[in-house]
């Protein structure tokens, strides 16, 4: 029971500072889970992180997996809800306020002003991901191919992922 309360408090706090999304607070999650509470070792946390990246779904799944690791199904439920509810309530409140003042000049300017920063940050996270996944010329070619695929077509992104996986496997098999 104690551990569930600690999970709830930990992730409620993290939820409200997670500007930039779940991946932005991974270091903070690591600090609390490994250093403060000692719920898992460094290497278990690394596996948890890797898993949350490999599995389909939002990056926030890392929180669910930490909860599961710490306290089973109850831990998974508590950690996930604690991470999603506070920020979710805030997002809905802000979104409703913005919708109510949709036609005001201030709201329009705020939206127009935020979009470029968002696009720049998305491009930046793509670059960070490309660097992290760089293992050689083949990886760079796969990344470039996926860029072209996205820009030139409206097809399902899953095709690019499947293509990347197949090429990655073939290259390693024949070299």
């Amino acid at each position: 029971m104690m551990v569930l309360i600690q999970l709830a408090i930990t992730f409620t706090a993290i939820s409200l500072v997670a500007i930039g999304g779940a991946n932005a607070v991974v270091p903070e999650i690591h600090r609390r889970v490994v250093d403060v509470f000692g719920w898992m070792t460094d290497s278990t946390f690394a596996t948890v992180f890797a898993l949350s990246q490999v599995a389909p779904g939002p990056n926030v799944l890392i929180v669910s997996l930490v909860g599961w690791q710490v306290a089973g199904l109850a831990g998974l439920a508590v950690a996930t809800l604690a991470m999603l509810l506070p920020s979710g309530v805030l997002a809905l409140t802000v979104s409703r306020v913005l919708a109510r003042h949709e036609n005001s000049r201030a709201v329009k300017i705020i939206k127009v002003g935020l979009v470029p920063v968002t696009i720049g940050l998305i491009a930046a996270s793509g670059l960070v991901m490309a660097r992290a996944s760089y293992t050689g010329v083949a990886a760079m070619a796969i990344t470039a191919g996926a860029v072209v695929f996205t820009v030139m077509t409206e097809r399902n992104p899953l095709w690019a992922l499947a293509g990347g996986a197949v090429i990655g496997a073939l290259v390693s098999y024949f070299t």
Partner: protein
């Protein structure tokens, strides 16, 4: 600003909302952002590029996972709180189940060199999808000079200089809004 995309459709039913977000959750390997944009803007046409960019931006400056925030807002916009809950369940439910399956299998898969190479290849592709998404959004939204400057600043701050996202957003978001106010029509 260009006028909203005329092809954006009327509001989806709760069932359609659930299925659309379930698709996003299930196909979101290596991050859901590219596939979320694909489903919402290109596949289901729930929102125009402009509307989606605006909602995603609000989701990004607020705390919490961006795409989850955006999903909640889209669900709420079409069907109120029930819609928000439906979108959230859609995007989270199947991935949570699969996550447990993955967690059980991971040990065996991670040992296999071919499987590792395939995962590395998919990771390289997902990086390309994210870069491509940014390029595509920028092309469709036709930013002016001021907007281009802020796209560049955000990219350099977070991508090249690797400043923490929170700092980049806290500094750049207000400046960009100020610039939009000063130089906007």
């Amino acid at each position: 600003m260009t006028p909203p995309d005329a092809t954006a459709q009327a509001r989806p039913s709760l069932g359609a909302l659930f299925l659309g977000f379930a698709k996003i959750g299930l196909m979101g390997f290596g991050g859901v952002a590219p596939v979320a944009r694909h489903v919402i803007v290109e596949d289901r046409r729930w929102l125009s590029e402009q509307e989606y960019a605006a909602l995603l931006s609000v989701g990004q400056v607020l705390p919490g996972p961006n795409v989850v925030n955006t999903s909640l807002m889209i669900g709420d916009r079409f069907h109120g709180l029930l819609g928000a809950a439906t979108a959230l369940t859609g995007i989270m439910a199947m991935p949570l189940v699969l996550l447990i399956v993955f967690a059980t299998l991971y040990g065996t898969v991670a040992e296999n060199p071919i499987a590792r190479a395939a995962m590395a290849g998919a990771a390289a592709a997902s990086a390309g999808l994210v870069i491509g998404m940014a390029i595509k959004m920028a092309r469709k939204l036709k930013p002016g000079v001021v907007a281009l400057v802020f796209i560049g600043l955000a990219f350099v701050a977070a991508g090249v200089l690797r400043l923490p996202l929170v700092e980049a957003i806290i500094v750049l978001a207000p400046l960009s809004i100020l610039a939009a106010w000063k130089f906007g029509k």
